[in-house]
Symmetry: C2
Subunit: 144 residues, 2 copies
Amino acid sequence: MTMPSDTTVTTWIELARAYGRAMATIEQALTDHHLPPLSWYDLLLELERAGEAGLRQFELEDALLLRQYSVSRLAERLENEGYLWRKRSAEDGRGKYLIITDKGKHLRQRMWQGYGAKIEEAVGKKLSPGQCHTLSALLSELSR
Amino acid sequence: MTMPSDTTVTTWIELARAYGRAMATIEQALTDHHLPPLSWYDLLLELERAGEAGLRQFELEDALLLRQYSVSRLAERLENEGYLWRKRSAEDGRGKYLIITDKGKHLRQRMWQGYGAKIEEAVGKKLSPGQCHTLSALLSELSR
DNA sequence: CAAGATTGATGGTTCAATCTTG
DNA sequence: CAAGATTGAACCATCAATCTTG
């Protein structure tokens, strides 16, 4: 079992710190505006991209890095608030399609106002476009 | 209110993805070995560095990116398991010092076995030392 | 039995209110 | 009143068990 070098550990710590700080800034902005957490945004964005057809719950697990039951509970909350509806699959009786409502599209728009501004504050204002490209490329290596 | 460029948004998404994947790998390894979550490790490491004198709870808020009540509850759990003890401050009757126990030092050691190996797997094996340096430098810009 | 999804119970986080001391 | 810390209540995440359909 190989242990990490100091350089590797430092990189991990900086990654956790940078993510934690940016995330705290963003979540704070959302709660200040009485808006729901980021996970709601992520789900709504996926559904809006999927269009009228919607998406199966299991298709969202990878995209949102969530487990089956987390997707289920998240979808339940958004459905209760009228931001999406669930349609039983015709082909496969076990499954459901999640479909965004107009109210859901509207919420995503409102959330983007605060969310986008904070991404700019936490990332865009601190790095040049060239630095962003370099950073994105290195981070994507970590997700392989 | 300035909105972020596509490049900026991509960088943020890659950051969240890279962090999420690495974190999932690490937490999974800890639960597989019936070990407590990473937040316990972070607290124990800070206390071990602080030595016999210990640290005040409010001093840990910044280091751990936690709120006052989260530090309080986290410390309570570790104290209940015997990994640290709390000493009332002599100078300031309002405060407490958190001091790691030998049992706490031992737990931190055991956690490092799995934790370190996964940092190597999630970061060290995917980037060269040069790439690590570049990545660390860019990430630290984001934490300013 | 396997895959997709849900749910009861449990434990952790968070907010707001509170307590204690400076 | 302010600062350090704690706590009840409400909310969210997680595990394991379960339900339904293929």
